[in-house]
């Protein structure tokens, strides 16, 4: 039961919830039951079927409706006299500015992506409003408290860098199933059904100069009157047969690797059989185009089954045909979507055929979908527990009970008898570029990189600014906003295409740029350092930013890894164009002896359209220090702890 002081703090509080998903539903319910009377809730999402197993405020009949609005209606049924204000909107909308945030006593995050988390963190810092942050994946979860000047901000700790794969691993030397998925989804699928103008590394770079690139391009063009059957076979033979032969011709590559096996359609499915399948397609053509499925037209039912090479090849051909016969209008504009059954079928089949070729174990459609869609594992219980912990911290924040703030980890396996492990919050990181004023350093080739590269790769992607303004001394180089006049817009657009040293005034080694986001009220300085060369594979951005939350050296330590199930480990390595990630999780500490260890478990961040990737499981070690308080007084032999009551 809450004490009188707690109750009065709760009753008088105005809280903002960001996110009405897995954690959000649980949180809204627990806030309402606990006596909160004025709750605002922002969520841009609409309800999907796969939400219903845990987002218990929603029903089948709500699919397609606003999460924030439906959640409000559901809670008012059992607590009709409280005020819940829903916003079916993106928290990054300019309406939710610093003044908007200032009206709240505390902000509670139940978000699913790094981008929005960083944005809310900055607004909370700017508005001086405490933030309770949370995340879950499977049975793991965490709750942290961020109060400006008192505890670290959300960005004080390095966030693991998104996983990317070297291009050649994907195009030529895959060794894991995820490499095949990336190839099938980001290269082959895009080549066949997506934007034809997009740069695409699908074709193996041939050492043989005689095969002109024009010829190679033609392999994917369907001839004017070409039979769809024949086209499918041609594509199949080109990517799984010819391209592999081409790659094999480069002996150097295979010195220390298993040689892949070229696969041709005629060896997998006899030609008569293909024709029979062709007839099946015709019979399936009459259905509803939104539910087109190669699996169902071939009579395969269970998504958990492992298909043989032959089945995969049949699905490949069938799915390709169905795209051309039933969804021809979309071809050229398709993006992979994990909820697009036919796309998932095509990608699964293509990835499996490639996997066979490279001697990599095959996977079921269910598994492939998880990897390709970066699907996060989510259960109701963890979200309920985390929501309870958020409310407990929120009440402490409202009472300004600083000494009792805790970050709490929900663990799958007990650590020193604990399943729920509270830890004292850390001090703010003095060199955090978000909550302190530490300058950043950018190594860049000022004669080659354009302002556009700097804006896209650094300011937006790494610093997470959405409405940036870039200044060189008192000169404005770049600005975004609705209130710009035509000349300004034209001027900035022109600047974007100029190399840094060609800007008025030129940006060169030694220049200090000021980058600012007016909405987030975040401002930082970047010292520019000119550098001539960058390693294409290791430094694909062609520039290096330092002094920000760069992940420290990673130490992979078997002992620190939490077994998070086999499916998680594969999913945690997937790259993806777009992901639906429910509730993510950043760091789990595991303490043994004097060291504090962090584990990043399947941390997943959805950076919408950009080619962002899910994060590989990493373990990092940080020396125990006196700021860290051990919570169990059992290990009294440990000198670097102090007891906590």
């Amino acid at each position: 039961m809450a004490s009188e002081q707690q109750l009065s703090a709760i009753k008088g509080a105005k809280v903002l919830m960001v996110g009405a998903g897995g954690i959000g539903c649980e949180l809204l319910k627990t806030l309402a039951l606990s006596g909160f009377k004025d709750i605002h809730i922002i969520d841009m999402d609409t309800i999907e079927v796969s939400n219903l197993n845990r987002q218990f405020l929603f029903r089948q009949s709500h699919v397609g409706q606003s999460k924030a609005k439906v959640a409000r209606e559901a809670v008012l049924k059992f607590r009709p006299h409280i005020s819940i204000t829903p916003y079916h909107a993106n928290v990054k909308d300019p309406d939710f500015n610093v003044d908007f945030f200032k009206q709240f006593n505390v902000v509670l995050n139940g978000l699913d992506n790094l981008d929005a988390r960083r944005h809310v963190n900055r607004l909370c810092l700017a508005a001086g409003v405490p933030l309770v942050e949370s995340g879950t994946t499977g049975f793991l979860g965490q709750v942290t408290v961020h109060v400006k000047g008192r505890s670290e901000c959300y960005e004080c700790q390095p966030k693991p860098a998104p996983k990317t794969y070297p291009v050649c691993t994907i195009t030529s030397t895959p060794s894991k199933f995820v490499h095949c998925i990336v190839w099938a989804k980001d290269l082959l699928f895009v080549k066949l059904f997506g934007d034809k103008n997009q740069e695409n590394d699908l074709n193996v770079r041939s050492s043989d100069a005689s095969s002109s690139s024009q010829q190679v391009e033609d392999a994917f063009e369907r001839g004017k009157d070409e039979d769809i059957e024949q086209y499918g076979r041609r594509v199949y033979d080109h990517v799984f047969g010819y391209n592999i032969e081409l790659a094999l011709s480069n002996e150097e590559t295979w010195k220390n690797r298993n040689r892949p096996r070229p696969i041709y359609m005629k060896d997998v499915i006899p030609i008569e059989l293909i024709h029979r399948n062709g007839n099946q397609v015709k019979s399936s053509v009459d259905g509803d185009s939104s539910s087109v499925s190669a699996m169902s037209s071939l009579g395969l039912k269970n998504p958990q089954d492992l298909w043989s090479l032959k089945e995969n090849s049949t699905i490949f051909l069938e799915a390709l045909k169905l795209f051309f016969l039933k969804r021809e209008k979309e071809i050229g504009n398709l993006c992979f979507d994990k909820d697009d059954q036919l796309a998932v079928e095509f990608v699964t089949a293509a990835a499996n055929i490639r996997a066979s070729s490279f001697g990599i174990p095959l996977h079921s459609l269910f598994e492939a979908k998880g990897i390709a869609g970066n699907i996060v594992h989510a259960v109701a219980t963890t979200n309920a527990i985390i929501a309870g912990l958020i409310v407990i911290e929120a009440i402490k924040v409202l009472q300004n009970d600083i000494k009792n703030y805790r970050m709490t980890y929900c663990l799958e396996h007990p650590t020193r008898k604990m399943l729920l492990m509270p830890v004292e919050p850390f001090e703010p990181n003095k060199s955090c570029y978000v909550c302190s004023e530490t300058p950043l350093t950018l190594e860049i080739n000022t004669n080659r990189s354009k302002l556009r590269d700097l804006v896209d790769k650094i300011v937006k992607s790494k610093l997470g600014m959405s409405l940036p303004l870039i200044m060189h001394g008192s000169d404005l180089l770049y600005e975004v906003g609705d209130d710009l006049d035509k000349d300004e817009v034209a001027n900035y657009a022109a600047n974007l295409e100029k190399v840094l040293s060609g800007l008025p005034p030129p940006v060169m080694g030694g220049t200090i740029l000021t980058v600012e986001d007016l909405q987030q009220e975040l401002k930082c300085s970047i010292n520019i350092k000119h550098r001539e060369e960058f390693d294409e594979e290791k430094e694909p951005d062609g520039m290096i930013l330092s002094g920000w939350t760069q992940p420290p050296a990673v130490e992979k330590n078997g002992k620190t890894s939490i077994d998070n199930g086999e499916s998680t480990s594969s999913a945690s390595q997937a790259t993806s164009l777009e992901t639906e990630v429910d509730d993510d999780l950043q760091i789990i500490p595991v303490q043994t002896g004097k060291k504090r260890k962090f584990l990043d478990i399947a941390s997943s961040d959805n950076l919408s359209v950009t080619k962002e990737t899910k994060i590989k499981r990493k373990a990092e070690e940080i020396d125990g220090n006196k700021d860290f308080v051990m919570l169990d007084d059992e290990n009294s032999e440990n000198s670097k702890k102090k007891g906590e009551q």
Binding site: L33, F78, K301, Q304, V379, G388, K417, M421, S567
Partner: protein
Amino acid sequence: MDGEELTEQETALYDRQIRVWGADAQRRLSKSHILISGLKGTVIEFCKNIVLAGVGSVTLNDDRIVTEELLSANFLIPSDENVYSGKTLAELCCDSLKDFNPMVRVSVEKGGSCFHNLLCRELSNFHVDFFNKFDAVVISSCSLLTKKTVNEMCRKLLKRTAFYTVDCRDSCGEIFVDLQNYIYSKKKGDETVECLLEYPSFEEAVSVPWRSLPRRVSKLYLAMRVIEKFEELEGRIPGETSAADLLNVQKLRKELCDTHSVDESQIPDALLERLLEGTREFPPVCAIVGGILGQEVIKAISGKGDPLKNFFFFDATDGKGIIEDIHKQKAEG
């Protein structure tokens, strides 16, 4: 299991959780039957969790008439007196739980729990055969005697029926688990090894002499035993205590501590006072303890994951969620 496949509808609805515990576990869940008695806030949270998880059936037992206090941490019942007039707590909860997941059968079993009749032996009035239908039995707001009796009945059944008790007071919660002899497979590196856990019954666990409890055992464990004993001696309805009882409870504490030769400081006054006074539930603690309980029942039914053995304690004031393994030492026979 039994080669039966999940339907397309199930695969779509349970997609995210199948990715956590696998299709086999989901199939086992969908064939399981759970009995739940005593529907206060923590148990309501638990009901929501397992109905969402997709168990086969849930049987609710609580004949109490709805009061404002019973609804303080209940989100299943609409705040409209017209809706709940004349219906029992279980009947009202049943209606809205059905709505959560149409694939789960939710029903009400009347009788057994006469919470307001002190002479009634509550749930233990049910015949042993009644419990035979269930894979897991969860009881709450029960007397010490009921806990022992129902636990013993579960142990007499031919098949293994998991037994749980859960209680929340103030901002504290306690879960007890009895899985009898539980065998499960566990991943160790690349290998799968079989593990056997031997659970004591509730009676066996609570009669372990305090001197032989694990070192630094949770103070909550001891405090809950004192209060449980107090309620039994006084013939109280479980949970119906107040600060006025402190003096008598302190006396009982002294007796028990003397018997067990442990220091009284192991059970601080402040803690006893909180537990006696805080009979109204604290919703965040209900969510946390109901969440842990849900997870444990799912683990036991699905055979996936290490189940906790055999007590769990949560106290919001320090934020720790602790597992205690309390059983008779083998050496002592």
